[in-house]
């Protein structure tokens, strides 16, 4: 039986499928980025991505749908932004960056193949990046950022009517999840910057639930992937100690979690974090 009963806080992270997408060569030169920085080492980026997919597929046993890259869509590897999946329902977003709007097509087909209820965001006044959507297992927080607007959040609320959808202003970062994510049921990983802490306060005020927080020194490291895999329990994919040693130490204090450090140095140069590169889906039945 689907429904709320399976969507409580404890079921957060349940996952059977994942959708990922290969990175195109155009990523290095044309991917959107907040600020110019070091050039992306494509080979290394690919290796890191393969490692990432390998963990999902081999280590965690997820069924991974790997979409082919599209050279005309330099940001297509960041599949998170184009779909929000909760339970059996998938919202195909309307990404805030016009250059990314076509990324949704492949995703839509992939999700349809999984028999999810597909909702498309067709309102031309609406924009929403999945990176601005934090689902805690109990409710949604939607960051209002350069990429996501009020209308997009409203449509998300209309799509997932069971849940409260609260908006959180995001100023300095690309996305809401640029500095936070769920690190466990009821546990929010949050960066230490003022903006991150302010956003957390907003979320705490807006919520009827009390979340524990895991504060890490680095905002980017606060973006991690929590999974609850049958037989493996709490699994946390977090940034490698080589990248963020201090933050990694914080994660390492999570005794109940199976910790999997993953390097993401290259993708981060184009504002890509761990959650950006996959859409996680829990198919409980074929109903």
């Amino acid at each position: 039986m689907a429904g709320l009963s399976s969507s409580g806080g404890s079921s957060l992270g349940r996952c059977s499928h994942a959708v990922v997408r290969a990175l195109p060569d155009s990523l290095c030169q044309h991917a959107l980025r907040i600020e110019k920085g070091k050039e992306v080492d494509f080979a290394r980026a690919e290796r890191e991505h393969q490692l990432y997919v390998g963990v999902l597929k081999n280590k965690l046993g997820l069924q991974v749908l790997e979409l082919p890259a599209d050279e005309s869509l330099p940001d297509c590897v960041f599949v998170e932004d184009v779909a929000v999946v909760c339970e059996e329902t998938a919202l195909i977003t309307r990404p805030g960056a016009p250059s990314r709007r076509k990324e949704v097509d492949a995703m839509k087909r992939a999700l349809e193949s999984l028999n999810l209820n597909i909702i498309e965001m067709t309102d031309e006044n609406a924009t929403l990046d999945g990176g601005d959507v934090l689902f805690t297992g109990r409710e949604f927080f939607v960051g209002l950022s350069k990429r996501t607007n009020q209308r997009g959040a409203e449509i998300l609320a209309d799509t997932f009517k069971d849940y409260a959808v609260s908006t959180v202003p995001v100023y300095d970062s690309l996305h809401l999840k640029s500095f936070c994510s769920m690190a466990g049921p009821n546990l929010i990983a949050i960066g230490s910057t003022e903006a991150a802490q302010k956003a957390l306060k907003t979320m705490q005020q807006m919520s009827d639930h009390r979340y524990d927080k895991l504060t890490v020194p680095d905002d980017a490291a606060a973006n991690c992937i929590y999974l609850n895999i049958p037989g493996k329990g709490h699994v946390l994919l977090h940034r490698a100690p080589e990248e963020y040693p201090e933050s990694a130490k914080v994660f390492e204090k999570l005794k109940d979690h199976m910790l999997i450090p993953i390097a993401n140095t290259e993708m981060e140069k184009v504002d890509g974090l761990l959650t950006c590169c996959s859409v996680l889906i829990n198919k409980t039945s074929e109903l």
Binding site: E87, E139, Q150, V165, D208
Partner: protein
């Protein structure tokens, strides 16, 4: 119905002291009463053959509630000088008499009389019993007094509603009966007497009745005749009786006004006055959605909640996703139809159900698909599953109101168990938990909330919303008051009394709070009532799966006819009517005895509740808290406030925050500094009440230390007791708040601000209430225990909800204790009445002691203030009585160890209700008393001297004064030894990349003079240094409270 009761009540009150006699009489009368009751209650009850007490309970489920109120009134009356009492009673009586006098209308009237009579009979009993109880209570515990006072307050506003009061009294009586069978007998006797009295009165009076139609949740219509002047409670109780619903506090009656807006029928007011010219049409609805339906005691309650939610979902009020619609629909099918049967359940079987506003074929298919998976679930289990899913919906229990924000943008305000939610379209754009809200008010069509300042802010902010019209604003305000009270308080606040000045709305939630109703329902011990589900008409099963027997409908009909006297007038919708009858009748008819028992039990519960409710303290609090600014009185209010505001401010500022965390703040800023330094106005007040303040401060300080400890204990208990998911959530939230508060404390300024707010709120409340109110409050407060009073008064008086919240914790704790105390009191009462059933637990005894202590404290405070001698005298008497009643141990404490009482009791009390606020309120009250000279009771107080000395290292200020930084973690550890209690707060913060760990230890050294405090302090500091060698001591605050003299008469 109750018109006659009024005089009786008076008699009862007077006869409180005569309890013993009354009891004797009761016994004699008991037989008579029983007879009367039986006849009145009609054949059905008689058929049950249950003892008269049972009958009484049955007849007055509603009356029980009412009883509570009256009892409260009595309690107040106790405290209040006799002449005041008489006034109240008379006023009450007169209206009642009038109502009775009104010509009864023919057959219907007769029928009503019958129905009423049982109630009336019960009521008189109740009044007598109450009176006795009250006297007992007074003697026994302050809590009781508080409750009583509350009731009195209620009664006063409801002057016109003497009937209800009487009913309540009756209910109390019933409860008492239930509690002790022995007691019951006596009570019955009493009731009989009363009945006798009433009956003659009634006979001459004629009652006008009106036919009410109530739409029930299953879509059927229930009609009954009701006295034209009846209060909402009468009708509501009738409906609940019809539904066989015991856990009725979650429900209410709605009526539609001319603009199609739905309003809740106020059970404490006359129906006629609320609906005016509108038709007497009502809808029975869930009013307070239980956050955790699994904590409801009875399946039948869950069933009605399910019916409500199905309506909510089908109408779109409760939005769900497709999947949830299907899932909930499938549970509905399982509950209504049982296991899926392919033969019986063809494709059409689902079409009669509506699962969603826009039900599609696809959805129906999904519903059927899921229905098949529920095989084996009983209806009750299916309902439970339904509720478990429904309760998680984000809009579950959210009462939405259209509004505009300050910029004219359309928004929705959602009132729910946890606070106020602000929606724009479907998005939640803000949320104000009850603890964050200091005050709720409305003015014209504007609705305001005053919000506690955040960490970054120094002052509270008021947020205004524009409602469509004045009525909408008031409606929203009332809903907020009710929700806050129901979910957040342990017991309801007393509505402000309208004596001389009537400023703002007197409206308060007068029903049980969630905590109370939970406790009450825990006592429900009837066999699971049988009820038929609407569509299937199958007999319901309890969760146990025990099949319900089929009831002989003829019996039921008889019952309904007999019971419902006016049944003939009732409009039955074919089967529906019959079903309803069956429901009511089933329980009763099937096993007359079991049913009766259950009813009796209920009565007991209600009694407990009533006692709790009686805690007038709460009421007092509320009255001030929720200010309602009426347009008419706006100017007056302003003026009044202006004049009083200064006093209040001074007072308020001086008052420490009730929160346990405050102690930290105080460390930073010594109490004395805070009080004196912050506001110049303070001085003014100080001058007036120097003694008071000193005491207060001292108490506060001690309280802080002790409070924390107690607090924790209480909190844990409270949480447990209150139970409920919501509570858990709240507690967690509160924890968060604490942390934040700590930060604030570091900042220092913020703390002060908070306190000021609190003070202001109190001030305002006081102001609003006017001196008159103050006087009332004073009387109430006097009667009530300090802790409860203080918290309650502060809340009520202050318009500020925020105070409520902080109090909240305290309140919960207090409530628990209060409840316990109440129980104790009840027990005591019973004992007194019936020569005691020695069954009372030790705990009760201890609790009682606590209560007593509270009283003493109050008395002391009052004494210091040089309250009116007369009042004092009364109090003394009261106390003496109490003492007598109390156990020897208690007496020892009171008489012998005054000092002990002060030290020990004060902290405890404080813990119960939030100490600082309480004390402040106390002070306020005393002031008011002095001014008006109306204070009811004034007991001599032991004067204490308070000294606060702060040693501070220069470093500290810098760190403390700077940014609070980011709080990484906060931890509180409490340890106790014989004479010392150590509370350690460890906070880790990050400021500008530098992490700082601050350990604050609060060491409370309690003891007599033979303890060397200086040595103990030195030892404590030494230990602290040893434990944390790498840390430096930045501040030492010594707060000393010593007794100066004993003035108490105790």
């Amino acid at each position: 119905m109750t018109t006659e009761v009024g005089p009786e009540t008076e008699v009862k009150k007077e006869s409180e002291q005569l309890e013993a006699d009354a009891a004797k009489n009761k016994q004699d009368e008991a037989t008579e009463n029983q007879e009367n009751q039986k006849s009145e209650k009609t054949v059905s009850e008689e058929a049950q053959g249950s003892p008269s007490p049972a009958l009484g309970t049955q007849s007055s489920p509603s009356s029980q509630k009412k009883e509570k109120e009256p009892s409260e009134g009595k309690g107040i009356s106790r405290f209040i000088p006799p002449w005041l009492k008489k006034q109240k009673s008379y006023s009450l009586v007169e209206p009642k008499d009038e109502a009775k006098k009104k010509p009864v209308e023919e057959g219907e009237t007769v029928e009503e009389r019958e129905c009423q009579l049982p109630g009336e009979v019960v009521q008189p009993k109740g009044s007598v019993e109450e009176a006795t109880i009250e006297s007992e209570r007074e003697a026994k515990a302050e809590d009781k007094e508080e409750k009583h006072s509350v009731s009195s307050a209620e009664t006063q506003p409801a002057k016109e509603d003497n009937k209800e009061i009487e009913v309540e009294k009756v209910a109390d009586e019933q409860e008492e009966k239930q509690k002790a069978e022995e007691n019951r007998e006596t009570k019955e006797v009493q009731t009989a007497e009363i009945n006798m009295e009433k009956v003659p009165q009634k006979a001459p009076k004629k009652i006008k009745t009106v036919q009410c139609k109530v739409m029930l949740l299953d879509g059927t219509e229930f009609s009954c005749d009701i006295e034209k002047r009846a209060k909402g409670q009468v009708l509501f109780d009738k409906v609940c009786e019809q539904l066989n619903l015991l856990e009725k506090d979650y429900f209410g009656l709605l009526f539609q006004d001319n603009s199609d807006q739905k309003n809740w029928l106020d059970s404490s007011k006359e129906i006629k006055r609320q609906i005016r010219s509108l038709p007497w049409l009502f809808t029975f609805n869930v009013k307070f959605y239980p956050p955790d339906p699994s904590q409801l005691t009875e399946d039948i309650t869950r069933y009605f909640l399910c019916l409500q939610l199905r309506q909510d979902i089908a109408s779109g009020r409760l939005p769900c996703s497709f999947v949830t619609h299907a899932l909930l629909g499938s549970y509905t099918l399982q509950a209504e139809l049982g296991d899926y049967d392919p033969e019986e359940h063809n494709n059409d079987y689902i079409s009669e159900f509506q699962f969603a506003p826009n039900q599609t074929k696809e959805m129906e298919e999904k519903v059927v698909e899921l229905h098949k998976t529920h095989r084996g679930l009983t209806p009750a289990q299916a309902d439970s599953h339904f509720l478990e899913n429904a309760k998680r919906l984000s809009m579950y229990g959210v009462d939405l109101h259209h509004a505009k924000d300050s910029e004219g943008v359309d928004i929705m305000l959602g009132v729910c168990a946890n606070g106020l939610l602000i929606y724009k379209d479907r998005l939640r754009i803000n949320r104000f938990a009850w603890p964050k809200i200091l005050k709720i008010s409305y003015k014209r069509s504007n609705f305001y909330i005053k919000v506690r300042p955040t960490e970054q802010e120094q002052f509270e902010s008021t947020i205004g919303f524009k409602l469509p019209n004045h009525r909408a604003a008031k409606r929203l305000w009332k809903v907020c008051v009710e929700h806050h009270t129901f979910y957040r308080l342990i017991s309801p606040e007393q509505p402000p009394k309208a004596k001389f000045l009537t400023l703002g709305s007197k409206f308060r939630y007068s029903g049980r709070t969630q905590a109370q109703t939970r406790q009450a329902s825990n006592l429900i011990d009837r066999p699971a009532p049988y009820f038929e589900r609407t569509s299937s008409k199958r007999v319901s099963r309890s969760l146990d799966g025990a099949p319900v027997g089929i009831i002989d409908q003829s019996l039921l009909r008889d019952f309904s006819a007999a019971t419902v006297g006016p049944a003939g007038d009732m409009v039955f919708d074919g089967e529906a009517v019959g079903q309803t009858k069956l429901r009511d009748g089933e329980g009763r008819d099937e096993d007359g005895s079991p049913t009766k028992i259950s009813q009796l039990e209920l009565t007991q519960d209600e009694k407990n509740n009533s006692l709790r409710v009686d805690g007038g303290n709460i009421y007092v609090r509320h009255s001030n808290l929720m200010l309602e600014d009426l347009d008419k009185t706006q100017d007056d209010l302003l003026k009044h406030q202006a004049s009083i505001s200064e006093l209040k401010r001074n007072f308020m500022e001086s008052t420490p925050e009730p929160r346990p965390n405050e102690w930290e703040k105080r460390r930073i800023t010594p109490l004395s500094l805070q009080t004196q330094g912050k506001i110049g106005d303070h001085i003014f007040q100080r001058k007036r009440l120097p003694v008071k303040e000193n005491q207060w401060t001292a108490v506060t300080w001690i309280t802080k230390a002790k409070t924390e400890e107690t607090y924790k204990k209480l909190a844990s208990r409270a949480e447990g007791l209150c139970a409920g998911p919501s509570n858990a959530d709240k507690s967690s939230h509160e924890t968060l708040n604490v942390v934040e508060e700590k930060k604030q404390a570091e900042v220092g300024i913020e703390e002060t601000v908070v306190i000021e707010e609190l003070n202001r709120g109190k001030m305002q409340a006081v102001t609003d209430a006017g001196e008159t109110r103050k006087v009332e409050h004073l009387s109430k407060k006097d009667s009530s225990s300090l802790s409860s009073d203080s918290s309650s008064s502060s809340e009520s008086e202050d318009e500020v909800v925020g105070e409520y919240q902080p109090h909240y914790r305290v309140a919960k704790d207090t409530i628990r204790e209060e409840q316990e105390e109440n129980e104790d009191a009840k027990g005591k009462e019973e004992r007194a009445t019936k020569t005691i059933q020695s069954e009372e637990t030790v705990q009760e005894g201890s609790k009682i002691k606590v209560t007593v202590e509270h009283n003493q404290i109050t008395a002391k405070a009052l004494a210091q203030e040089n309250a009116v001698a007369i009042k004092v005298g009364e109090k003394n008497v009261m106390e003496e009585e109490k003492q007598d009643l109390r156990a020897e141990d208690e007496q020892l404490r009171i008489n012998g160890d005054v000092s002990h009482v002060d030290i020990d009791v004060v902290p405890e009390i404080i813990c119960c209700s939030e100490p600082p606020v309480v004390k402040t309120e106390m002070v306020t009250i005393s002031d008011a008393t002095q001014r008006t000279e109306i204070s009811t009771k004034e007991v001599p107080i032991v004067q204490t001297e308070t000294k606060t000395i702060t040693y501070e290292s220069p470093q500290f200020d810098g760190s403390a004064g700077g940014d609070a930084g980011v709080l990484l973690s906060a931890q509180t550890i409490t340890s106790e030894s014989v004479s010392t209690t150590t509370t350690t707060h460890i906070t880790k913060t990050v400021k500008g990349g530098v992490s700082e760990t601050r350990i604050e230890k609060r060491i409370v050294i309690t003891g007599d003079a033979d303890i060397d405090h200086d040595q103990a302090l030195a030892q404590a500091i030494k230990e602290a240094k040893e434990q944390h060698p790498d840390m430096s001591v930045t501040r030492v605050v010594v707060h000393k409270e010593t007794e100066l003299a004993e003035e108490g008469e105790e």
